[in-house]
């Protein structure tokens, strides 16, 4: 498959109306993205300008290749945390080697995404279940917030899981810097108030809901402006408050990934996990927003677009990026019509990196940490625990395993454990299918579970319904169930399998059916089938199973019972 260029479609229909919508949305998203890009770069252990670099080329490339009209690509919290975890083992945060490793990670991630897109492997992301994603995102949110506490407290701390991070923080608690902590706590409080208190206040003052919403989104920018001004005016830097300092002014640089297989090898699995997580987050929000306007996105093409975006990040001094949830929703709500909104946002960030960076000199690091804490705490949502506990224990176990492994060991292990546990539980469940002995509901042609209903049965006929497709992991369970019944009921002459819920029979299950049939006929009994689905019947007809079958195949189960035990039906 050649990657398509969706820009050729929406570009031709571009007009003044779409320009207006895209322009307004771009201004708002740019205002949101400036503090976020600085903060997420810091979260990833990178200099703040790297966040700005990662918010230019990726946006332009996504606009060219992406199928979502409104997805806002750029640095996001969870991927930044995963970046820090992946490269923290290979270089010291803040060093040039660390930045080079981040660039290399973006490159590998881009190559993997592109390859997955061209090979149409987007379905692989489906193996990340909702509970695993929820558990992972919540745990990541907690880890991110915890990692920012060192900046809020003004201390040094280190660690990639909750335990060693927590211990490191506790041991430093005595060293906390009072003024830094005050700035951090007040900023957190201000940002929470902007979220929950400002919007209703503005509405009461007569502002429209949408305008109030947009003003509330400027909270982080206001916090940055205010604390930067105060730090400059009151000389807080001299009192020990850590500031962002000199941020280079200029265009994103041209960079190359490190050509070092010794580094590629350990980064490959993290790059794959970052790609999959980024893709899943991106596609979820993209699909939801597209559906609202009866549009659709093409997941395999999205892989290509995200791959191009990450390659773009790698060659312009950035780090791994993906489509962010919050910014995309704002982009949509603010009226973005086409990916041109992303192009305009990129221009906005470009202007910021050309002219705004000197103004960031006195920005306290604690302010950025506060914006991260407030942003990620909205990711933490434990309602999935209650929901899955009520709905299905297997899903609950998968959430808990993901949560504990992510918090206790780290993001990469957490994700792998989550996928492995959810797959194992699925296989376990399908390997023990629900099987019900059924009997005839008197006066009807319907059959129901003998344990749940009063039904008619015959001692010479055993009617079994299997509520699962038959495959290697569950076919022996069927053999055992039938062996058991045959051994217990001496009067038995016929076994009838009601196949209405069997969507497929694999080669192992076919062998099991043959074995069951041979054992039954060896003991003087017969095996019959009823209600076999069309596609299953087509496959059975390709074999000699039906020719050797000791019994018959009935169209309906009622016909089977009518023929085999007329005293019942």
């Amino acid at each position: 498959m050649l990657p398509s260029l969706p820009i050729l479609q929406w570009g031709r229909a571009y007009n003044r109306e779409t320009l207006l919508g895209d322009g307004v949305a771009a201004v708002i998203v740019t205002i949101m993205l400036i503090p976020q890009s600085l903060a997420y770069a810091m979260l990833a252990g990178l200099p703040p300008e790297v966040g700005l670099y990662a918010s230019v080329a990726p946006l332009l490339l996504y606009a060219g290749f992406g199928t979502s009209r409104v997805l806002a690509v750029g640095p996001v919290a969870v991927v930044s945390l995963m970046t820090a975890a992946a490269i923290g083992e290979h270089a010291v945060p803040g060093s040039p080697e660390y930045w080079a490793a981040a660039i290399t990670l973006a490159f590998l991630s881009g190559v993997l995404l592109l390859a997955m897109g061209l090979l149409r492997l987007g379905f692989l992301a489906n193996f990340l279940s909702h509970p695993v994603i929820s558990g992972f995102i919540s745990a990541s949110g907690i880890l991110i917030a915890a990692s920012q506490f060192k900046t809020l407290l003004g201390v040094e701390a280190d660690g990639h899981n909750f335990l060693n991070l927590g211990l490191s923080l506790l041991s430093q608690l005595g060293e906390a810097h009072g003024l830094t902590l005050t700035i951090g706590v007040l900023t957190v409080a201000f940002l929470f108030w902007v979220r929950s208190g400002l919007k209703p206040l503005l509405q009461r003052l007569g502002m429209s809901t949408r305008a109030a919403d947009i003003v509330a989104k400027t909270g982080p920018v206001a916090a940055i402006a205010l604390t930067t001004l105060l730090t400059w005016a009151l000389g807080w830097q001299a009192q020990g408050v850590k500031i962002v300092g000199a941020v280079p002014q200029g265009l994103p640089p041209f960079t190359l990934p490190l050509w070092d297989p010794g580094l590629w090898q350990p980064l490959l699995v993290p790059a794959l996990l970052i790609s999959v997580v980024g893709f899943v987050e991106s596609v979820s929000v993209g699909q939801t927003l597209a559906a609202k306007r009866r549009q659709r996105i093409e997941p395999d093409q999205e892989l290509v677009a995200l791959g191009a975006s990450n390659l773009g990040a790698a060659f312009t001094g950035g780090f791994p990026v993906t489509g962010g949830f919050a910014r995309s929703v704002v982009n949509f709500d603010a009226g973005a019509q086409t990916p041109a909104a992303g192009v305009f946002t990129a221009v906005g960030i470009l202007l910021a990196s050309l002219f705004l960076t000197p103004a960031l000199f006195y920005l306290p690091q604690a302010t950025l940490a506060a914006t991260i804490v407030v942003a990620v705490l909205s990711l933490v949502d434990f309602s999935i625990l209650r929901k899955t506990w009520q709905y299905g224990r297997a899903d609950f176990i998968a959430v808990v395993a993901t949560l504990f492994a992510t918090l206790g060991i780290g993001v990469e292990t957490g994700l792998v454990v989550g996928v492995a546990v959810s797959l194992a539980l699925y296989l376990f469940r399908t390997s023990r299918p629900h099987m019900a002995e059924v009997g005839l509901v008197a006066g009807t042609e319907h059959f129901r579970n003998v344990q749940r209903h009063t039904v008619l049965t015959s001692p010479s006929v055993f009617s079994l319904r299997v509520d699962e497709s038959l495959y290697f992991a569950n076919s022996r369970a069927l053999e055992e169930r039938i062996n058991d019944v045959v051994a217990r009921r001496p009067a038995l002459e016929h076994v009838v399998l009601q196949c209405s819920a069997i969507n497929d029979i694999d080669a192992s299950a076919l062998e099991s059916l043959e074995a069951i049939d041979q054992r039954l006929s060896g003991a003087g009994l017969r095996l019959h089938l009823s209600e076999v689905k069309g596609p299953v019947m087509d496959r059975l007809k390709q074999t000699d199973f039906l020719q050797h079958l000791s019994g018959r195949v009935f169209l309906t189960h009622f016909q089977a019972i009518h023929a085999l035990s007329p005293e019942v039906a």
Copy 2:
């Protein structure tokens, strides 16, 4: 669970008739087992007497704990090959360390089997599919036969996969020992003739089928007796024919496994694979034979019995054992009624190891190799390739992967690759469920695939039947299918999911259904369900999904279409 003692049941009912059946069967099985136990010990790289030791205590313990009345436990070909592969890396074949490692492997295997039995983990064996087992057994048969060619040729060769074994043999071809090769080839020819030519001959001479069958089973013993006599009489040893030599006379020794974690660690995975393969082989034959007499076996109790047998082997100088296919069938056919036949067989082997071993001094090793080659070639059966090619490509791929990995890399890798490939293919298949748009068959209440039948549909209603339970790996496929249709059909007002083939909906799929419903209602459409199964409905009712659902839940799909597009129904 406490292990039960099936011996208490059949022991009480023991009488003269069962004694006679068991006695006759035991004599025949003993005659078969003597050459097999020597040969399989040699295959495992162990001294021949170890084969006899492994055929006493394990049989007694299985008789006490096993639930099969006729299973003949002892050394078997595939497990012997796996033993050689597992311990060949840690010690030199023939050395005391090698024997000690084999004893330790039997111990670990026994502990694992016992633990799996007590924890009721017998279902784990179900993840070995029939195609994987078939491919594995066939490849093992080829590897075993290839490994015996060095003994038939009278040369030294080494290797645990087909490639390095074959290269090693080819490089030694010039060194082949003529007389050894003659003995080997003639023995192979004789054994094949006994199998295929002798039985019909005896029947033509008026012998009953059963008696002819039993005489044919004594072929290997006759070959051993004849070649041993000839070697002794003609002094072949002096001409370079390798003989078995001095075999210690006496009771099986009391031995202890090595208490060495450094050895346990690498042996643990091989021990697990040996346990699972042995268990699967044992349970398959046990179930088939039990069913013929309307008896049944208890898989978890079988694990306990096989665990006890392997522990017995470990403490009496043996190596890993399991229930063998060929000997169990002979035991059954010869009239064994209870596990006492196994006790009598153990007594027979005990007498052989006390008194017969001096007679084995002049037995040519090539004769034993010939009996192995003939025995294992019956394991090689490539019909599974044709069968799975016709029936299902996924199964075919699993067979081929297992075959190539086993032959090309080795037994352990082959088995692991087979299981991984078959699980991956199953997950892949269920992640892309069959979905059919259905329409009404005119004049009926039945719905069929619109692509395969002429049916009635409405532009405002999309009826979709999903032929698979919904879970995390396939729920997004449903989302995409519906998004796609909604984007293509502007007249659409209703989406109806016919749920007759959906046996389960997990938490991820429920989230997907909620997302689908929200997107549809956001775009002014409605989502309806029809023919939801009882258990699925019970689970949905535990959530608020049905309260928020934009559409309705219909008992039958016909009712849904009747209500939503009366012009059709």
